[in-house]
């Protein structure tokens, strides 16, 4: 009895009580409504509903059609921006694939062809070698050759053109905002909530307003891509500048540097390696956007994936998807190499000797241009030498479907009845007023009462927008998926950390899963598990697994060796070492992994709307297909609310754990 009461602390009693009460209210909410004859128990009273969506739509209409600065209208402004983005984009498209021409239609005259495929590969190899060494040059070259051999060249070059435009804009814009935030603290205060929103509001939610403001076609897609890819650059810039050693700043001040010199001669050069990490993030996020961007007119590989899956050509979809992965690998490795690159002494000698690569590449461009006029195979990769694995993938899919469907169906039924459906019922039953209160209590208990109040107010916003039901389905789907992702991911991460050989394979697989467009596996998942929550859950788990694995591996690897040594001296067995030393010390990292997993799961929910869930993601998607900007933004904000609350809870938990461990 004494032993039992020792375990019942006030904290545990609080959680137990909260859960029991929530469970009771969730189970009996319907009876409560009948008993009190109060429909507001299960439905938010419609008289009190905010009509924020119509207001946002009206505001956007006004912005697009009427907003005027005197000399020019708001739309003139956005169109001017669009025009400025269009110029370099069109130039790159012409350069990489379409060739330069004047006139239109039958009157078109070609001035110059595009770069030949050999020339583009040569440039890629040159950049690889310049960034690090021949090994990287070879990797990058093989990646680009893959695009040509598998017949993805034309689309890949269109995608490359948009990446080459979006990344500099995202990187330079992010750098500028980051510097501004570093210089002026109020900018940082202002930016922080905006960054939170930019990273958590699903892209689908703001596609419609962007289309209206920036016009149709690739430019709107580029703008959406930049909005999505820029926030990490801003954050990284702020952190990088803040961690520049004080001595360097002091030295700069002693030399009498002006603020401008301070920024460009001291701060930015000193922070460059970290800044390149941000650029790398921008590149990866830009490639993540390829599919969504193609839905609003970007074309390229993303469009190939969408179009092949619409005609259920799974093989072609996978090939185009893998082409995106391959391109991501090439760009990722090259940009990482740049961030680690050390300054070398300038070469001396003639122009050719000083710039060996520039001259080689120029020579190849000229030679292939001249030869390309005579031999078409030099200008365009010959069709006869293209390889396709399309049929293989479709056949493999059919084989799995015919032979393993019954087994999969059994597993699915068990998981559905024991896990998914009960959790769904629990969340769906929670009355809105209690949900708001409970969320406030949870956040308050974990992260302080001020945040608790903020969380309750944010939940009230969801309820008042009439999205309570959808939000609860989101919580359920996201919760179950994150639970399963952590359950699978953490052991995989631990394994990867303990066995470096297995680790390389596992982490490589995770990289692929994250860069492979989710659409590619969404359709096979539907074929095997049918339309419904289960398919959505599988897709979310596949996508959100990577951070769970990575952070677990990282956390275990980072455990200080002295502590491991101390554990061994105390006579720990390997399993005791893992459970008693490594895991507790890795908890803060594990929690960060959990945080990232939740964020990815939430962003994926919008994609799974494509297979027919009924959550906030579906609400955002419906708004997109109906071009209802207000509805999309309100549903998007609701997703952001959930993401921000989850983020604050997990961060508070991680901080608490860190303090306990004295880290």
């Amino acid at each position: 009895m004494l032993a039992l009461s020792r375990h019942i602390t006030r904290g545990r009693l609080f959680w137990l009580g909260l859960f029991a009460l929530t469970w009771a209210l969730s189970t009996y909410s319907f009876q409560l409504y009948k008993l009190l004859d109060a429909r507001w128990v299960i439905r938010f009273p419609s008289a009190l509903q905010l009509n924020l969506d119509t207001e946002i739509s009206n505001f956007l209409d006004w912005l697009v059609n009427e907003a005027h600065f005197g000399l020019f209208s708001f739309r003139d402004l956005t169109r001017a921006i669009a025009w400025m983005i269009e110029l370099p984009y069109q130039f790159l498209r012409n350069l990489l694939i379409e060739g330069f021409q004047t006139g239109i239609g039958d009157g078109a005259v070609q001035i110059a062809p595009s770069l030949s495929w050999i020339a583009v590969i040569a440039i890629a190899v040159a950049i690889g070698h310049y960034a690090r060494d021949w090994a990287l040059a070879l990797l990058v070259g093989v990646c680009f050759l893959y695009l040509a051999v598998f017949g993805q060249w034309d689309s890949a070059m269109i995608t490359l053109a948009s990446v080459l435009v979006a990344v500099p804009i995202g990187a330079v814009g992010g750098l500028a905002l980051g510097i501004l935030a570093y210089r002026m603290p109020w900018v940082e205060t202002l930016l922080r909530p905006i960054l939170d929103l930019m990273q958590t509001v699903p892209v689908f939610a703001y596609l419609v307003p962007i289309l209206i403001l920036f016009g149709f076609g690739p430019v709107a897609a580029l703008v959406a891509t930049v909005i999505y890819a820029m926030p990490p650059m801003i954050r990284v810039t702020i952190v990088a500048l803040k961690t520049v050693p004080e001595e360097l700043l002091e030295a700069g001040r002693m030399m009498g540097a002006t603020p401008r010199q301070m920024t460009w001669k001291v701060l930015v050069p000193a922070a460059t390696p970290t800044l390149m990490v941000g650029v790398n993030q921008v590149i990866m996020l830009t490639l993540n956007m390829v599919i969504i961007a193609s839905m609003i007119g970007a074309g390229g590989l993303g469009f190939d994936v969408l179009a092949s899956l619409r005609r259920l050509d799974i093989g072609a979809g996978i090939e185009a998807g893998l082409a995106i992965v391959v391109m991501a690998i090439a760009l990722d490795r090259a940009s990482q190499a740049f961030s680690e690159r050390r300054m070398s002494h300038p070469r001396t000698g003639s122009v050719v000797q000083r710039h060996p690569w520039t001259t080689t590449v120029l020579a190849i461009v000229v030679v292939t241009y001249l030869l390309g006029q005579i031999i078409p195979a030099i200008q365009n990769y010959p069709d006869a030498l293209k390889i396709s694995t399309g049929a293989f993938w479709s056949d493999a899919m059919a084989w799995i479907n015919v032979n393993f469907f019954d087994t999969l169906e059994t597993i699915k039924t068990v998981l559905l009845t024991t896990l998914l459906l009960p959790v769904k019922k629990f969340f769906a039953g929670i009355p809105w007023f209690w949900g708001i209160l409970a969320m406030g209590l949870i956040v308050g208990r974990v992260a302080g009462w001020k945040l608790g109040l903020a969380a309750a107010l944010m939940m009230l916003f969801i309820a008042a927008s009439g999205l309570w039901g959808e939000a609860m389905v989101t919580l359920y789907l996201c919760g179950v998926s994150v639970f399963i992702a952590i359950l699978i991911g953490t052991p995989l991460g631990i394994w990867a950390a303990q066995k470096p050989g297995a680790g390389r394979v596992i982490l490589g697989l995770m990289d692929t899963l994250q860069t492979l467009p989710s659409f590619v596996y969404l359709i096979p998942v539907v074929m095997l598990f049918r339309v419904g929550d289960f398919s959505a859950m599988i897709a979310v788990v596949l996508y959100a697994l990577a951070p769970a694995v990575r952070y677990a591996a990282h956390g275990i690897r980072e455990v200080p060796p002295q502590l491991l040594e101390a554990g061994r001296m105390a006579g720990c067995t390997p399993s005791q070492l893992l459970w008693r030393v490594k895991l507790p010390l890795a908890t803060p990292q594990l929690l960060l992994g959990l945080n990232q997993t939740i964020m990815l799961a939430l962003s994926m929910l919008v994609i799974t709307a494509l297979v027919g869930t009924r959550d906030l993601g579906q609400e955002v998607y419906i708004a997109l297909t109906k071009a209802n900007a207000g509805q999309g933004i309100v549903a998007g904000l609701s997703v952001a609310v959930i993401a921000i609350i989850a983020d604050r809870i997990v961060h508070a938990l991680a901080d608490k754990q860190k303090r306990r461990l004295g880290l």
Binding site: G215, L416, I622
Partner: protein, 310 residues
């Protein structure tokens, strides 16, 4: 540049008594399904034959209306009565978009089952026969009801109401996208598993898979609006789905800027059969859209010359 447009002007002037078209390209929208790509490419090719310049722009099916309203986009070739009418009406009401008439194709949408279900469920395609073997279509999630896979929520279709009104033992499950819908059909067809789902034509699916549409009591406007009409005297929607034309929609400025092209666009007509054959050629036989369109144009030269009016 200048002498080129002068040349086009000369050509146009040579054709009798017609207003002059602008030499700016007409922007046609492309979506992500083959049928629409074919229709649009065919229209584009014919417009080029008529002396116009065209440009193709990738755009979302519904989101494109925002572009049609502002003149960023000029012509959308496939607005389905069934899925796009609401958006089309809304756009036309603003005065910035005009309906350019029917494409000649008729959209059919209905519950559909694969042919092998006829053995397990005799006297199909009658809806009552389907209802009698609802159990065949049940899954773990829907049992004891049969599972009917409906289209995305945004397609409408009143399937929940239909099930209710006709007292059918089915549960409606909505696919999120067209791709998910046919992915399930493909998988079930490979296994020869029971399935009944929303299929529409013109589409490659009815050409690829053997099967038929379920026969419901025939559609009438009264059946949808008036509960007393139909099998169930107390409920509306106790009948099948309506069929409807596929429309062409254009930016309101198009007829002014390209008057000749506007008449070519209005004349464009193609049948479900021709379209079905072309879609099957692209999606099932792996030919390119351009190839298929060129073949059709070679075979039907008099038809499309007729649209141009030469």
């Amino acid at each position: 540049m200048k002498h080129i447009s002068a040349l086009t002007a000369l050509c146009v002037a040579a054709t009798p008594a017609l207003a002059q078209d602008s030499s700016d390209p007409i922007k046609l929208t492309l979506h992500d399904w083959s049928g629409q790509l074919i229709t649009t490419t065919l229209m584009g090719e014919v417009l080029e034959e008529a002396g116009n310049n065209v440009e193709y722009v990738q755009a979302d099916y519904i989101a494109q209306f925002a572009g049609l309203k502002t003149g960023d986009l000029h012509l959308a070739m496939e607005i389905w009565e069934t899925t796009g009418r609401e958006a089309l009406d809304e756009a036309v009401a603003t005065g910035n978009v005009v309906n350019m008439g029917e494409t000649g194709m008729i959209a059919i949408e209905e519950w559909w089952y694969p042919a092998y279900m006829e053995d397990r469920c005799p006297s199909l395609p009658d809806w009552e026969a389907l209802n009698a073997c609802a159990q065949e279509f049940a899954t773990a999630e829907t049992a004891p009801f049969g599972r009917y896979l409906g289209g995305p929520v945004t397609w409408g279709g009143f399937d929940e109401e239909r099930v209710e009104a006709l007292g059918m033992d089915f549960e409606v499950v909505h696919a999120g996208t067209d791709a998910a819908l046919f992915a399930e059909l493909e998988a079930a067809y490979q296994r020869q598993d029971p399935i009944v789902l929303w299929v529409y034509a013109p589409h490659w699916a009815p050409a690829k898979y053997e099967g038929s549409f379920v026969e419901f009591p025939p559609y009438s406007a009264e059946c949808y609006n008036d509960p007393s009409v139909g099998v169930n005297p107390n409920a509306a929607y106790d009948c099948g789905k309506p069929t409807g034309p596929i429309w062409k929609a254009a930016w309101a400025g198009l007829p002014e800027q390209w008057p000749n092209a506007a008449s070519v666009i209005e004349n464009f007509k193609i049948s479900n059969e021709d379209m079905g054959a072309m879609v099957a050629d692209v999606d099932l036989n792996g030919k390119s859209v351009e190839e298929v369109v060129a073949a059709w144009m070679a075979e039907n030269e008099s038809t499309w010359r007729g649209w141009i009016g030469q």
